[in-house]
Symmetry: D2
């Protein structure tokens, strides 16, 4: 059994890690920390884990964390790098779910978040998108686990940009997220009475996931890529769909063929044979469903991509990275079938 710890486990990504580990045959969770909940049984805060997890939350400096070979950081940005640096020094391997180690260039991070305390470490960190960086992840010391919007946007775009099958200019990403993406914080905008029966855009042309997307698209393309990115909030707890508009350099069949080749060895990306991606069919699973359509008269390629923002968009992807790092089978503990209905 591989021993792991979760730092900052009182939010939804922590809960999702614990839900998934409950079905993982080769993992033992040795510590879950929370400053505010220390001492309380984990299943007291999260009754979904009643009978599954018999740990209590501990303080973030609890010695039990030292037993873990792998540590998952489910902390806000800034707090994550502060903790991450110490764990790395102690020789532990770190999967960070915040933005702190997602940027190759600390300056880029600093332009959108805050000063970085370990620029050399973020330069070494591996971007935790296994479908693109599988080999590097296996031996990584620290993983910057991708954001949910980047995961949902990059999986359809990267293979096509690498092959030059779409133009790098003029990409528009119209993305829609379930409300759990806003976390478990008590915010008026996340109330049932506000977000239910509502649909809206937010952070138009100013969301911090945009530079993260652009970093990875630029690497795929070999030249700087700028995108238009509009996030929306849709009344579902879990789920994310990206509708992407790009100028094609090839026909639809080549697009589909490119995806199928690129993802042949990737169990969690599925190019649909028929129909279009739906958030509910990937709910609770680590899957990404892809489809494409061509508007011939407008010369526009339309790409569709669906994930569960908490699973493939956060904790599931983190465990996928962990499986690779620990030399385990990539799919261990990660549902392939969505919870439908």
């Amino acid at each position: 059994m591989v021993k792991v710890a979760i730092i900052g486990g009182s939010g939804y990504t922590g809960l999702e890690l614990l839900r998934l580990f409950a079905g993982h045959p080769d993992v033992k969770v040795v510590a879950v920390t929370s400053r505010s909940e220390a001492g309380r049984p984990v299943a007291g805060r999260f009754p979904a884990l009643a009978g599954v997890c018999d740990l209590a939350f501990v303080q973030p400096d609890d010695p039990s964390i030292g037993q873990a070979e792998f540590v998952f950081l489910a902390l806000p940005h800034k707090a994550a790098m502060e903790t991450g640096v110490k764990l790395i020094e102690a020789g532990q391997r770190v999967i960070d779910l915040s933005a702190d180690f997602r940027f190759r260039d600390a300056k880029n991070y600093e332009a959108h978040y805050c000063p970085h305390i370990a620029p050399e470490l973020t330069a070494q960190a591996v971007y935790g998108l296994p479908e693109v960086y599988r080999e590097q992840i296996k031996s990584a010391q620290i993983i910057g686990n991708p954001g949910c919007y980047p995961t949902c946007s990059l999986l359809p775009l990267i293979p096509l940009l690498k092959e030059g099958f779409i133009e790098p200019e003029g990409i528009i990403i119209d993305a829609k997220s379930g409300v759990s993406g806003a976390g478990r914080a008590a915010a008026v905008s996340s109330l049932f009475s506000e977000a239910g029966e509502d649909f809206k855009a937010y952070n138009v042309a100013s969301h911090r996931h945009q530079p993260e997307i652009e970093q990875e698209l630029s690497l795929a393309s070999g030249a700087p890529v700028k995108v238009v990115f509009t996030p929306h909030l849709t009344p579902l707890s879990r789920g994310m769909l990206a509708t992407i508009y790009a100028k094609p350099a090839v026909g639809l069949e080549k697009v589909l063929g490119c995806w199928r080749d690129f993802y042949a060895g990737s169990p969690f990306v599925r190019v649909l044979d028929s129909g279009l991606p739906r958030t509910v069919t990937v709910r609770g699973s680590n899957m990404c469903h892809l489809a494409a359509a061509m508007d011939e008269s407008a010369g526009c390629l339309i790409l569709l991509s669906a994930i569960d923002n908490l699973t493939k968009g956060a904790s599931g992807q983190a465990i996928q990275c962990f499986n690779l790092m620990a030399g385990l089978e990539e799919t261990l503990g990660l549902p392939l079938a969505g919870l439908m209905p």
Copy 2:
């Protein structure tokens, strides 16, 4: 035009008052107060009122309040009575949406809320259920506007208790409320990700609406009535349904006839000719829909009652009381048709 003011208008009951007054032909809102929002346009906080309400929030001591003949208190309990006492002294007529003036006996109030600063005033106040206290409301100086659960529970029960058509012992009220009943406060339990796709009971056998229900049932029955009351939270923004179990003294036809007689002059209570009450068919309206069924073999009468918790359960009922107090037609500004779907 009758001039009215709203004190504490930054929550959902305040918003609902303003939505309804937007369609009221004989009312002019002269002031809406909010300590935290003072100075901000009302439509800035509530874009649903864009183009409808051009007021800005004012401080609770703003002189404009003095112009109002009628003042609606949309404040938390305790704050409501403190403000209410002053307004009454100034000769204004008050409709209080909090619990502060719902109890005839201040001691009963104090057992469930907090010390009462004006026991004599609550003794004089009229309980604002027009279907029962229509005449008293017309001349009242101060109205204790009923709670949502009491409204939904009392309308089916009072006529039957008055007639002795059900036993006063053994009444069970299993009630279900939409999430807006918890208000616009940022609370984890009201988050979309918590309350959505969830159904649960809360405050079992300990909700503060229970003594309010018992006060009115006891008055109807002529002797002390105790009930079992279980509130639940259901994933809808607006709506409340009560399923009530009682021991019948008569048959089903007499029950329906009793209701029809009692509510013959009440435009907002409707005994359904067929089908069962649904929350969505009264959504946004001031209606209460009633139906009944008899389980003959168990000797149990089952009563069903649906309202919109923010309209008939709060602000709509307050305006219904106001219409009566101001000598206006009872239905003015109050939708009879629900927003379905």
Copy 3:
């Protein structure tokens, strides 16, 4: 009182017409037809109208229809034109909510729907978007009431195209609709268990509202306009949001100024002073809320537009047209305040 009839009133647009007429001071509904429901009380099918509408459904050839000066067609396409032609011959004025009279050129209609039986009539019909065709509507004999997606898309785009403030090429409309847009038909894809907790695209690059949008944009632009149009289904009953991407010829302030000028006399279109459009704040109202943002680095203008698909997107707009045709005030019977929460 102006007498009106509704043909095919057993679906959601029929229900919405009746809900709105319940609050209209100058209208008397003399007949509501439904083949399948003839003889049944309207309030039996639609309990939301209990106590509001005491009509029973009649057959589509009931003589009472002849009393109506105005007839609303809430029929499927094809059936609508067959009925419409007869009513026009009988001298009645017709507001058709189907697609049958939305196309100036019957050939364009026929390319997307079916053979047209009255090409000359559709050429004469007025497209019922009052903000654009107010004067023509007043004297129209027959109105082709716009589709929901076209309404939501055209209101932000037409003023900008007329002024040349955006390029006519490269417009992308990413639109999201509530489930009521699919009507009251029993379809698996509209089930709560399918559409709830789901978000998906459908009819990508092939929706029949696209040629309707292109007709009106071409007229506004003075030259043929092609758009990319992607409709999505989002888990809310009512509401529609369009996110539109266009190449700007001017800066953001000019865009906002253009809208403000164009809609100065239009009570149902509101350019938001702050914040972004939300579907819930226009729910049940006839409002359209607009906002815009500029992605400077990408040279892309982002337009946002929200309506209630059943009100401004269907029945409310039909009544707005009717008010103009009947010489009544444009806003009569049409809510300006949305039902929030």
Copy 4:
């Protein structure tokens, strides 16, 4: 690997069986039948199974069914017994998810459903509630898998009735179900626009799960038990909560102790240490969460019970029975952690 077949696998209970088997280490599904879908890939109908299930639907008489040692019937009642009789004759073991083998006395079944073609078989069948009939299930030839409402109602009540801790008279079950309980049939009442934002009762005092509940309570009590049973529909896809009112013969601690003893060896029933059952915390899991409260002044015990209607209330329970029948560990393939949020 144990070979199983699913007859009638095109609905939600079939889908749920396949989702759960995807995570079951010791099962091979050899056939999934559907008359209407025969020939179509299962993952074409259910994209949630893309990459998980590579079977195509076959006709109900396909020879591949003969390979299965265990057959799950996910058919409507009547069709289930017709198929079940043949399978039993062929020596296969049958888990029937319909009502056809739930009644010990075929006459009782016939009073509520239709004529029974194999009265002797239903008399021999075992009621598939493992927490009560674990030993009998292990060796059963045919299982009548309990209904969702009975499962949710019986688990809290049976231990207390067996011990005489509640009175057998006067039990009231107020139960609330998610919409998936109505299946995948295209029915107007299950539409998102009808069931969303709605809460209502249905089949009051006339639901067919009532006699099933009474059969099992009578067996537990040793004397005939009648209950009042009111089912409701609540706007969530999955989930069921029962609020049960009973007259206690003992205090609250004894109630909780009785449950804890009775369910000590039952991994899927959990008496909560704190808090109340919620549907979302058991969503997608096979758990039943229990809690109780005492209304001392009314002398009423209030029991609360939550399950996922498709898992513990249907397909999960069927697999739990299968595990016991096949000599496997009871929990194999069955999630203990709910999908929250």
